[in-house]
Structure formats: structure tokens, C-alpha cells
Amino acid sequence: MKSPPFEYHRAGSAAEAAALLGELGFDARILAGGQSLIPLMNLRLAAPAYLVDITRAPDLAGIGADGGGLHIGAAARQRTVELHTDTLATAPVLSDAISNAGQVPVRHQGTVVGSIAHADPSAEVPAAFKAQGGTVTAQGSGGTREIPSEDFFEGYFTTALAEGELVTAVTVDAWPAGTGHGFLEFSVTAESWPIALAAVLIHTSGGKIDRASVVLGGVAEVPLRRPEAEAILVGSTPSAEAFEAAAEAAAAGIEPLSDSFGSGAYRKKLARVLTRRALTTAAERAGGKA
């Protein structure tokens, strides 16, 4: 099908986009790459009256790392971020996540920030962002504010953004040397959505894990942090036993929904297996033993 009619606006800067959102009201949406929004419009599941295109705003285009982390502007394309040397050095879990998201032609057009703002609980990019941690920069007519990644995702396609705000950038926090990551998902074909996914990071020091992050996707209404699993990992020596115990804890207590791709019980099993395997990979990368 074709998209319903709408009015198109092009913002030349973040401030102009925020002003347009304020002026146009609740029925305005940000258009970045459009790789989630336009399919929804073509399917007539979304029909915003106004779109504000932010991809031409020079102040939203950037990507780069400094000591604090990786900064990604709202107009930066997924494929650019995926292959960027700063991403590979600072946030390789994000690069792995992007490489699993959609297809290369979709990633040429889609944006990292757009995927985070879209907040699909099954999607790769939000899970990896939450796993590594960072901040979302939101701008509205009243100014800008920083939202921790931990507080950004509130429910299915629902975020902490207020009406009239857009995400202008995200910053992914840097982890110290000695960090390893693992990202794994299971999907039926290369084209299909992940049924479940796991994004993990561990940091080892003196042969022990002193910091861990475990986030699951596709099993709840948000990318889901698993604190019980993290508590088991911290203080442990990297080992198959520790990873099995942490994976058990990650899958315990979740109640995924069933759909045509898999039952809730199947997702729960996937959550355990994917977490264990992702941790094993992360330990190898961190330089510990698995």
C-alpha cells in the first residue's frame, strides 16, 4: 500500500526541528531514515499529519568518540556507525547489533538514533545501547536534557521523551580495557525479526569479573536488564559454570509472550542459551577463560 498523505517539513538544525515539533503539535513525527516509520505508514498503521525530516541538519550528522564514550548524532546512518573505527574501538557490541539489524540496504538509510527512539523491544540497537549504557540527549522548545539509557525505554514503542521533544544524539559510555562483549540473536531467516536476543558485556580484572551487563531483547516490553544474572557474574571467575548459572538467572522470572514465531516457553529457553553463549564469547574477548 501507499502512505497516507502528510505534510513534509525539512529542518536545517536540531533547534529548528524542535521548534517545528512545538509548532506542529502532537501529530508531528520526526523522519530520520524512515526505515521503521515509512513501512508503518505504508501499512497504514501510522498516519502522522506532519513529518519533520532531520537528515539534512548538519548538527545532527556527526559520529565520533572521545574519552567519555561514543557520540552518535540523530542523522548518522546505521551502516556508517556499524563500520566506523570509533564504534569498533569503543562500542563493538553496538556494531555487532547493527550488523544483525535489517539488511544492508536498510542500514544504508536507517539511523541508530531512530532505532533507539522507535523503541521496538525486539530490536537489536536499543538492546545493545542499554547493555553498554549511555545517555540520550533530548531537545524540546524548552531546551535540552540528558536521559540515562536505563530510564529511556518505558514500554512497547514508548520512551521517556516528552511531547515536542526529539532525540538529537546518544552517547554510548566507554568501558575500560579488559572488557569483552557478546551479542547473539536467533531468527528464522536472515530477513526475519529476532525471536530473542542477548547483549552482554563483562570486564575482568585479576582473573575475576568485576563488572557485568546482561540485557535481553524480544522477551518483554522493553530491552530487559537482568540484575540477578549480573550479580552472579560479578566476583566470579569466568567459567562455564558461572555462565550457566548467570544464564539460568537471566531466563528465570521472565514471562515472554507467544506469537507465530515462537512460544513464550521457547523464548525463555532461547534467552538462557543465547545469554550463556554470549557470555562465553564476551569472556574470550575480555581475555579471561571460559
Binding site: K2, Y8, P39, D53, T55, P105, A190, E191
Partner: protein, 160 residues
């Protein structure tokens, strides 16, 4: 609803037009420019039949509005063999029977061209992974992979 004046370069020719905001790039190419080689399959970005190259990079023209392409350099399937002679990639598809019904072929050819230009020495595995962005319901993909590899070899030889 709004309409917008855009200028795009399609297959080397600059074109200006007035488009409705909701006009997809695919519909713009087909209906406004008459370039019906770009096929429309799913209209939700899944199948890849509508693939075109923008600045040499593959995109789905069904989930991009024409107004977003303002100022872009677009390459469609019509550019591959402007004369009577097929492009080496098209010739390889013919030789290997890399198509049956032909619906996915324009998208497959442009994606194949991008893969070869990114990596002239691509392996069968890389070709298979690369074309996983595009659906074909006839061939089972094997003959398409064969054609892409054969064309890559031929294009490498032409370079030498």
C-alpha cells in the same frame, strides 16, 4: 498534504519535478519518470525488488519518499545496459539462468553490482550473505550466486 519541487539526477540526467510528499521514490521513478524497470513487491522494505542505488549505495525505494531524495544521484536498472549489449552481470545472469520470472532481477542486479564494486574478489559465502537482502521465489538463489561470482571474475579480467 504538501507538494515539493525536487531535483534529482537519475542515470546521469538531471530532472526536476513537483512531487506530493507521500510519493515514494519507487512510484516517482515508475510513474513520473516512466522508469518501470524498478519493481515494487512488498512496499514495506522486506523484499528488495525496488532496490536502487543512491550515491552508489543500495536503498529500498519503496520505503523512501521522493522528497527525501532531493539532490541525490540515483541509479536504476535502466542504466546498466544503455545500448544493445548486456552488462557483464546481466550476461552472467542470462548464462547461469539466474532468473526465472524476472521480478526480483532488477533489484538483484543492482545489489550484485554494489557487492562486486565493494569487493571485486568476493567469495561465494559473501555473495550469498550479500544477496540475502533480496528475495527470489524462483531460483533458490544458487544460480544467482553463481552469476554474481562469474560476473565478478569477468569484471576483474576486464580491469586487468
Amino acid at each position: 498534504m504538501s507538494t515539493h519541487d525536487i531535483t534529482v539526477t537519475v542515470n546521469g540526467t538531471a530532472t526536476s519535478a513537483s512531487v506530493e510528499a507521500r510519493r515514494s521514490l519507487a512510484d516517482f521513478l515508475r510513474h513520473d519518470l516512466g522508469l518501470v524497470g524498478t519493481h515494487i513487491g512488498c512496499e514495506q522494505g522486506a523484499c528488495g525488488a525496488c532496490t536502487v542505488l543512491i550515491g552508489g549505495r543500495s536503498v529500498r525505494s519503496c520505503i523512501m519518499f521522493a522528497v527525501q531524495a532531493d539532490g541525490a544521484e540515483i541509479q536504476t536498472i535502466e542504466s546498466l545496459a544503455p545500448g544493445a549489449d548486456l552488462h557483464p552481470l546481466q550476461e552472467a545472469f542470462r548464462r547461469h539462468q539466474g532468473l526465472q520470472c524476472g521480478f526480483c532481477t532488477p533489484g538483484m542486479l543492482l545489489r550484485g553490482l554494489e557487492l562486486i564494486s565493494d569487493n571485486p574478489d568476493l567469495t561465494a559465502e559473501e555473495a550469498r550473505e550479500g544477496i540475502s537482502s533480496n528475495m527470489c521465489r524462483c531460483t533458490g538463489y544458487q544460480y544467482i550466486v553463481d552469476a554474481v561470482l562469474d560476473a565478478a571474475a569477468e569484471m576483474r579480467a576486464e580491469e586487468d
